[in-house]
Symmetry: C2
């Protein structure tokens, strides 16, 4: 699934920044791919990109409008439809990470069809996948894994891409969730793939590559999450990672969405991921830890990072506070 | 998904018994649910059930024709269509475990629609599932797990149901694959569920029940299979098994479909399944092993069972040679 660039980011009538977090993600990680943002009256989100109309965006060469806003329940709001139609008329494709499909709205489908535009619903994988083969393929691969869902795997993976590219590595972010796909312009929403094809879809996402090329694969869920561990394990096996980075958010009372399930111990979580990963890549090893310390004070965060680093004997970073240089130092030392 | 009983088993023009293994499975495990078999000229399979015409089957009260034959590539053969149409005309629903959908054949779809009959494609789960909650629910549950795919999990689970019911247990087979679903008349093809919902679909398949009721859940795949382990893990977490039975076929040179992947050691496989299962049920334990010794001589089989039993300290059976009484003895001693 390839989304044509550059983008116009549509923030709609987002009532707060959180509702537009997809737009913020794209603006943060791919500003060079965006001609600007387009907002409806009353919008309370702002990515800081130039404000442009749909026609101006088209004149600036925009190829795709990204629905960068989430409505309650993952629905497309009625107020957005006239603007989405206008974008199609102006020559743009539409790309959307919500549960509801653009293609399921008859007016959008008919207009796109008559104009030859694409409606790209990234949560609904198009095409079919093969069953995973487990066959070892060339190229280096890194996968972020988590103690839980929503611990910063996408953010960490993108930060690694930026740092590695900055140091001259040949490295590509590989997206496995809707926001990541809109950022990268390509990818597979692995939790939406039919169960039989999880590892096969991931094998297709990060295929054989040059021996010194790094695929940096966005992880999903956690081996310890009772709702989603199957996705995480299929992803781990399909990725054949040489390197793992464990992502953790230290202030949660329990795993996301499942009261009564404590967060796993970090060392135990690393050991379980390494053991499972070695089925398809015997060299798999965890090379560091990424902690999301947003809920902690600077002092607490520093203590957490230092304690964890000492306890595990692995570099321990917060991408936002410390950057990920320490992880890339470790990657540079692999071989 | 509930399939109306009794059944007419359709064997078509099966060129050999293996092509009709679904029909054999239903005839073996649910003969009381079958009014008979219907074969086309030249059919080389025979379940031993009475030979009946479609009209006779209808007169005997048959409610569903089961497509009990597999064509190359999982396709519905053109030669079967007139008979499938005749069955719809005679008042029967159609149920099918092949990849190709009955519902995708326009002639069948139109006829079923006009007559108000159901076309049941068990490989394609109907309806939607919730995300798994991991919440502990009452009732006892047993899951068969495997060193590999196709090691006898369905057969073992059905043998346990028969033995347990014979001893007065309140026990139900829960099907997770197409043949099992046609045998049970209900179930969920877990490998065809969207990845996000694997454990949730299994939670729905074997919901809360009476404290002394046993759900006997058909396993799929293996935690050690690089193509399918995600399915196996989601199934394990959703099942919340109190008891596990490991199924194994001892003569394979490698895991099914993936040369280079050796079969896991049995003790290691048990330990990995118990560790993973304990996320959602801390009491989970393996209570025995089921070996498919069909490829071994009686002497070799006996030695294999005895050696394995001594090595693992668990009852070790072959459902076909020894029955599963030793496993049910162990189940009876639980609690």
């Amino acid at each position: 699934m390839l989304i044509a660039k550059p983008y116009l980011l549509f923030l709609g009538d987002a009532p707060d920044p959180l509702a537009a977090k997809t737009a913020y993600g794209v603006a943060r990680w791919r500003p060079e791919d965006c001609v600007g943002q387009f907002r409806l009256p009353g919008c309370q989100a702002d990515t800081g990109l130039p404000e442009v109309s749909i026609d101006t965006a088209a004149a600036l060469g925009a190829r795709t409008l990204i629905v960068g806003v989430a409505n309650r329940g993952g629905k497309l709001a009625a107020a957005w439809i006239p603007e989405l139609l206008a974008a199609l008329q102006a020559g743009l494709d539409l790309a959307n990470g919500l549960h509801q499909r653009l293609a399921d709205l008859p007016e959008l489908a008919a207009t796109a069809d008559s104009l030859g535009r694409r409606l790209i619903d990234v949560r609904h994988p198009a095409g079919s996948f093969e069953v995973g083969t487990g066959q070892k393929r060339p190229g280096q691969r890194l996968l972020t894994v988590g103690t839980d869902c929503s611990t910063g795997k996408m953010y960490t993976t993108l930060a690694l891409e930026r740092e590695m590219r900055g140091r001259g590595f040949d490295a590509d972010f590989r997206a496995t969730g809707q926001t990541g796909i809109l950022i990268a312009g390509a990818g597979v929403c692995v939790d939406a793939v039919v169960a039989d094809f999880i590892s096969g879809a991931v094998e297709a996402l990060c295929p054989a590559n040059a021996p010194d090329h790094w695929d940096l694969i966005e992880g999903q869920g956690s081996l310890f999450h009772p709702s989603f561990a199957g996705v995480s394990l299929g992803l781990l096996h399909g990725a054949q990672p040489d390197a793992l980075v464990l992502c953790h958010e230290p202030t949660r009372p329990h795993l996301r969405g499942v009261p009564g399930y404590p967060l796993p111990d970090l060392a135990e979580c690393i050991a379980a991921n390494e053991a499972a990963a070695r089925l398809t890549n015997p060299k798999a090893r965890c090379i560091g830890v990424s902690i999301n310390t947003a809920q902690l004070s600077a002092t607490e965060a520093g203590r957490w990072l230092e304690d964890t680093q000492n306890r595990l004997g692995l570099p321990c970073v917060d991408p936002l506070r410390t950057g990920v240089a320490a992880l890339v130092d470790r990657i540079a030392g692999l071989g």
